[in-house]
Subunit: 342 residues, 3 copies
């Protein structure tokens, strides 16, 4: 099994080590299931009681937990233990995961008019069309589709089965997971005598640097201009982004979020799971929407917004839901009792 | 850059041109960012104030805006400017997009017992099984899967990575986007002693003409009979259609809509984003359901229906949501004040 | 057309036949559209009136309907007619569907260091990486991706276009539908100075026996440990399962369900369509959540839970929704009328 000296880890990710740098670390794990060959972390002080009993070889803690941690064994002190844990996972992955070899797999179908950097890796049975541009060190997974004229920045990695449409672009160090579809047509039709007349979607999708896109997430191309994801945006799985929407830098959307078309979302926003955003709205910087909320109006102030029906046992919910359907008349009856006209 | 004479455009899409037919048009764009080489449109009179300031070479307007538009420059008058814009995008796309060449890509895996029209185009690394029938002028994108005995009508286009299951059919002029899965098993099980016994799904999916299906949308095959999408249905991305459901002609569903099994939806309905429809319900013709609404009963009258929890700032929502859980008892207390028994 | 003697069917699936075993059965169908060559079933007594008028050749019924059924023609009596119908569909599918031949399609890209059982079938243009292990009788559909070291148990079937990530495993007799993505990265980041630092997802996905996974459903790999689906779990299409979540044996989730990370779900639970579950919650055994409910707290007791906004005509909904935003103040006004302080 792979194992590293604790000192080697600390040399790479930093922090102050109190303990034996020669200790062998074979895994990263949570406090409660840690073994003496495990490095773990304490980021949420709610779990501080686990510190005394964990069997972990080394614990990453913040300065305020230094003494308690040192009392039990090897300790790595860092200003932000959760961030330090993230850096540790990155170092670990780089050391333990196979890196795809540069070059084009013999089974891939690559148009002669595509430009593939010599250090890029193109997986088995990928299709790369004319004019596509694949940057240095990027990885295109097996069975991906890269359309005509698409541009993939340096160091960006696509898992298997990604569809990346014609004329779309993504910057550097991006990650796109399997089944994501970037650049399908936006949903646009003109109504005409009871039928729908297609509006051809002539724009593209423009994605910045350091963007991660989850599995089976869809980002539609713009109708005229582009759909835009700015730097550092993170989208989870099964997210829908409609045409001509802009998502500001470092905003994030959790699983099953649906964002309609022509939405303008600011920077550093978070949309929790299953949030929906109606079309043509604006959301300010630093807006946070809690799970399962339908954003039906623009949110012009930073803050936290919610709109979820509270869960209850079914019998209680039934009574409350039935009453909810009478709520406006209840309000009028209350006004009558108060001596006001409805 | 591609550019067309304005007169050539008008000759193709119709309308009354007031202005120089020799004007060169290089792009279609919105009013506010238009350049002298841009053709744009004014369909929503809310934006009429932009007419005076736009730099557009030509504006498509309705008859009521004719004078105001002519006062500023070249004008194309049409009875329905938004429809005219749609026709313009179609003409533009036909002139500017590469059309896949007819024929079967050398890397595709096509069963000898499949029938492929000579004018159809089969993309790289597509798989077409025995008995499949691909109509004239249709386009099967790269890496698509077409199952045994499936039928694709003339002029229908599949983007890359579409799965189209055995025995399913789609009519003419359809569009299916990447990652769509047509013909996976419906979700059917018989409960038995705390476990689930699979009901094999023996039906198919039958899709009419002029249907568009979005990216990563799923349409399950029927248990016994077929799941049916009638002519002109439009489905956005990440939509789920359960087994044995029928969607009537020219109905449309926006992103993230979930339709359960054995639902019967009429013609010309619209389901806005993230609407859900419970199983075994009927929805009349011309029903419109607003976003994020759960349709939990049949809707037997045309009309507009809603059921979304209103968004609020989190603190206000928390108080209202907590009170909502007491709503039935509040109603009883109100009745007591009114002198009625609960 | 395929047709079977009724006696042959009964010999295979059991039950007591009253009627001619030589009757030819050409299809399985519902009561109302049955023909004399159709076998059908009556499981829900709500449809008992159809028994007198159906043209079916044979009807499967429970003991309580025996006399009524026999009075109209051939009858198959079984203790649980719906279960018997399920068994019938399985027998029928096994008799009428082509079974993929064992062996590796010439166009598949299989690493020499993968282990493929000789009785397994690997479809056209599938990619199987080093160290993958494909069990006896399993079927890997066309264009599937099986990552390094993944394990697929005996008799498990993947439709086309499945992505099954490195190091993930599934047991025996599983079914995975097209577009499913097993083993994409969980959604984990450490916030840092207004940006997100990726937490590499080092765990896997571990799936038991007899599990079915719907089209375009996503199951993320764990951050440190594994995401777990126990035996008999059934997931419909477009379901999201976050990292490190456990779904207990024989639990089922309908279409568009979203389950966050680190959720612990018990056995025999059902989550109806579009249910959402927030992160880090526990759900007891035998919990049933009705459609469109957001599970925002742990559910520690078996039972039925709900939280859906009731649908109404749009005008009524608007008045009630507007009032809902005042609900807490209404409650205070009611308290005032009651002579209490708010």
């Amino acid at each position: 099994m792979t194992a590293f000296a604790l000192g080697e880890i600390v040399a790479a990710i930093g922090g102050e080590l109190i303990g034996d740098p020669g200790l062998r670390i074979a895994r990263i794990g949570p406090l409660e299931t840690a073994t003496p060959a495990t490095i773990t972390f304490l980021a949420n002080l709610r779990y501080r009681s686990q510190l005394a009993t964990t069997q972990a070889g080394c614990v990453i803690v913040g300065p305020e937990m230094r003494d308690a941690a040192v009392a039990r064994g090897a300790t790595l002190v860092a200003p932000d233990p959760y961030l330090h844990f993230a850096l540790l996972t990155q170092w670990w992955a780089a050391r333990t995961r196979a890196v795809p070899a540069p070059g084009i797999h013999a089974s891939a179908v690559v148009d002669p008019a595509a430009r593939i950097d010599a250090s890029a890796s193109i997986g088995a049975l990928a299709v790369i069309e004319a004019g596509a541009d694949i940057g240095a060190g990027s990885v295109i997974g097996a069975q991906c589709f890269i359309g005509t004229g698409a541009r993939i920045g340096a160091g960006t990695r696509f898992a298997a089965h990604v569809s990346f449409g014609a004329g779309c672009s993504i910057g550097e160090r991006g990650i796109v997971h399997s089944g994501a579809v970037i650049g399908a047509d936006g949903f646009g039709f003109a109504p005409h005598q009871g039928t729908w007349v297609k509006i051809e979607q002539l724009g593209g999708v423009r994605i910045g640097n350091d963007v991660e896109i989850g599995a089976n997430t869809c980002i539609d191309r713009g109708a005229l201009g582009d759909t835009v994801l700015e730097d550092g945006v993170k989208l989870d799985n099964l997210v829908q982004v409609g045409h001509n929407t802009r998502i500001g830098a470092h905003s994030a959307a959790a699983g099953c979020v649906g964002i309609s078309g022509s939405v303008d979302i600011g920077a550093r926003c978070t949309l929790a799971g299953a949030v929906g955003v109606a079309g043509h709205l604006s959301i300010a910087d630093d807006v946070h929407v809690t799970a399962f909320t339908a954003v039906s109006r623009s949110l012009r102030q930073a803050g936290v917004y919610s709109g979820m029906f509270p869960i209850d046992d079914n019998a209680t919910w039934e009574k409350n839901a039935a009453t909810l359907r009478q709520l406006y008349s209840l309000r009028n009856r209350l006004r009558a009792l108060e001596g006001k006209s409805p």
